[in-house]
């Protein structure tokens, strides 16, 4: 009798422990998903901001139509891209295109003095940063998830309920540097 009770207690403890591990895994996976969604939110915001910027600068930058078209083109490509890798490549290109646009803005004193332009520039710089930080957080969360999936004992629970490993977001070397805008 005592033995049966002992076995029952052990069983209950083990089940509670498995439930705990399972819940942690679910929480971590949701964190990863949320982190991924945050990247999309920021990318969308950048796509929304670009037409505004182009609209404001285009009157000043008559001789830079080519650059502006490239920015728009890169934006449309980024919006049309599907799949993780294609999206990330297209977004990288958009970052590059914006960088050259910002570099050109430096040559136009009128533009630099324009309140709208500085505001939009700050918004875009911040959005670039947010994209980078969202990716960084995504990777940190994915690493936490993958650690849990590989490390004993949570790996057993992960296998039992079919938790899969998360992919890391690959960061292009050129993109690690933020767009530098000196507002001072």
């Amino acid at each position: 009798m005592a033995f049966t009770i002992f076995m029952l207690v052990v069983l209950v403890v083990i089940i509670a422990w498995i439930i705990g591990l399972y819940n942690t895994l679910v929480k971590t996976r949701n964190q990863v998903k949320n982190a991924w969604a945050q990247i999309d939110v920021q990318l969308k915001r950048r796509h929304d901001l670009i037409p505004n910027l182009v609209e404001v600068v285009k009157d000043y930058m008559e001789y830079e139509q080519e650059t502006l078209e490239k920015v728009i083109q890169a934006r449309n490509m980024a919006m049309a891209a599907e799949g993780v890798n294609a999206t990330s490549e297209a977004e990288n290109l958009l970052t590059g295109a914006l960088k050259s646009l910002f570099a050109l803005v430096e040559n136009y004193p009128d533009l630099k003095a324009n309140q709208n332009v500085t505001q939009l520039q700050e918004e875009l710089t911040s959005t670039e940063n947010k994209i980078a930080f969202a990716r960084q957080y995504y990777n940190d969360s994915a690493m936490r998830m993958n650690n849990k999936i590989e490390i004993f004992p949570s790996n057993m629970v992960a296998v039992m309920f079919g938790f899969g490993k998360e992919d890391y977001f690959e960061v292009a070397a050129s993109e690690k540097e933020n767009v530098k805008v000196d507002l001072r």
Partner: protein, 362 residues
């Protein structure tokens, strides 16, 4: 490897349809966008060692944060235990002083302690922000600050804290609140003006470190309770001038040493309070600096920001900071009295040491 036909910039990988340097679109690009190599790279980058290099280091940091959070929980519980004791003891000794009212003193002490603890838990952050003369950040005027805070909340995966500005030339910042979901970050106007965007980001990241480690909760409760104890002890000491014990009839033999205890308590209570404040380990500043680097991957900006703070803190003390709130700030806001900043009773570690450690992370 692909070379841009226009500007000659060599790029890796091959599949990109557009030059990364000059933005020129390649002729053969259209169909190739989808084929990129699915490599795995968690923290690889060649931006010059701006990240916490080895995975081993990161797990060590993570462990430190977890232990810091549980240590803060322990400290909070200790505080919640000793604060009412101290208040009750003060109530009792005050009652004794005025002659035979020790029971009422104890009851009053319990009441005050409970109410005050509830108030400091739910409104401690508002009290601190109010005392520090912090105002909500303006959406138009402070939009860079708000953006920077939002960036850091994304980087840390925490909810967006409320953003406040203190209108003063002094350079300082603090965070407060009872949890990451109820957190506020306050920054001085001088800081916004003197620091560039990256340095401001580093300072905000440091504050987010305090938020994540739950330093803010303990520091908030200590600020509220230290303030209360100091105030009460002052009131008790002053009341002696108007003479107590007037209604006491026929002093018993136990009365005389109770009076001595009462006097001792009134004098020692602020010292106890100070000790509570000291229990906020100075290592938490190093830890928050480490978090700032983890979030921004930019130790140089944090080192520069600390350097600027170090240069200014002696010149302009923060007028709205006081002894109860000094431990909240990123650098000690009160003028130093010629003492070494590493001195025993300092609430902050020496800035040069912090800068040295941050630089060692590069």
């Amino acid at each position: 490897m692909k070379t841009c036909p226009k500007c000659g910039y060599d790029q890796n990988p091959d599949e990109i349809p557009m030059c990364k340097l000059c933005g020129d679109v390649f002729e053969s690009a259209a169909g190739e966008v989808g084929a990129s190599n699915p490599g795995v790279a968690a923290f690889t980058s060649d931006s010059g060692g701006a990240e916490l290099a080895k995975p081993g280091d990161i797990s060590l940091e993570k462990r430190d944060f977890a232990s810091e959070i549980s240590a803060n929980r322990g400290r909070t519980l200790t505080l919640m235990f000793f604060f009412p004791l101290l208040i009750v003891a003060m109530g009792w000794s005050a009652g004794e002083w005025f002659g035979g009212y020790s029971l009422y003193g104890i009851i009053a002490g319990v009441g005050i302690a409970v109410i005050y603890m509830l108030v400091s838990w739910f409104a401690g952050d508002k009290m601190i922000l109010g005392v520090s003369k912090a105002r909500p950040a303006d959406k138009v005027r402070d939009f860079i600050l708000i953006n920077v805070v939002e960036e850091m909340s994304i980087a840390s995966g925490m909810p967006m804290p409320k953003v406040y500005v203190i209108e003063t030339k002094a350079l300082n910042a603090f965070a407060t609140g009872r949890s990451p979901a109820h957190a506020s970050v306050a920054v001085t106007r001088g800081l916004i003006k003197k620091l560039n965007r990256e340095e401001l980001q580093a300072v905000v990241a440091h504050e987010m470190g305090h938020v994540r480690n739950f330093d803010i909760r303990y520091a908030m409760l200590v600020a509220a309770m230290v303030g209360a104890i100091v105030l009460l002890a002052d009131a008790m000491r002053r009341s002696w001038w108007w003479g107590g014990r007037s209604r006491r009839t026929g002093s018993g033999s136990s009365g005389s040493y109770l009076i001595i205890i009462a006097i001792l308590l009134a004098i020692l209570a602020p010292v106890f309070a100070k000790l509570l404040q000291m229990a906020i380990s100075r290592t938490r500043e190093y830890l928050a600096d480490a978090t700032a680097v983890e979030l921004t991957r930019n130790p140089v900006a944090l080192a520069n920001a600390l350097e600027k703070l170090d240069n200014h803190v002696e010149e302009i003390p923060l007028p709205s900071a006081n002894r109860a709130t000094q431990h909240l700030f990123i650098v000690n806001p009160l003028r130093k009295f010629g003492a070494k900043s590493g001195a025993l009773m300092s609430t902050h570690p020496p800035l040069q040491e912090r800068i040295r450690r941050v630089k060692a992370m590069t």
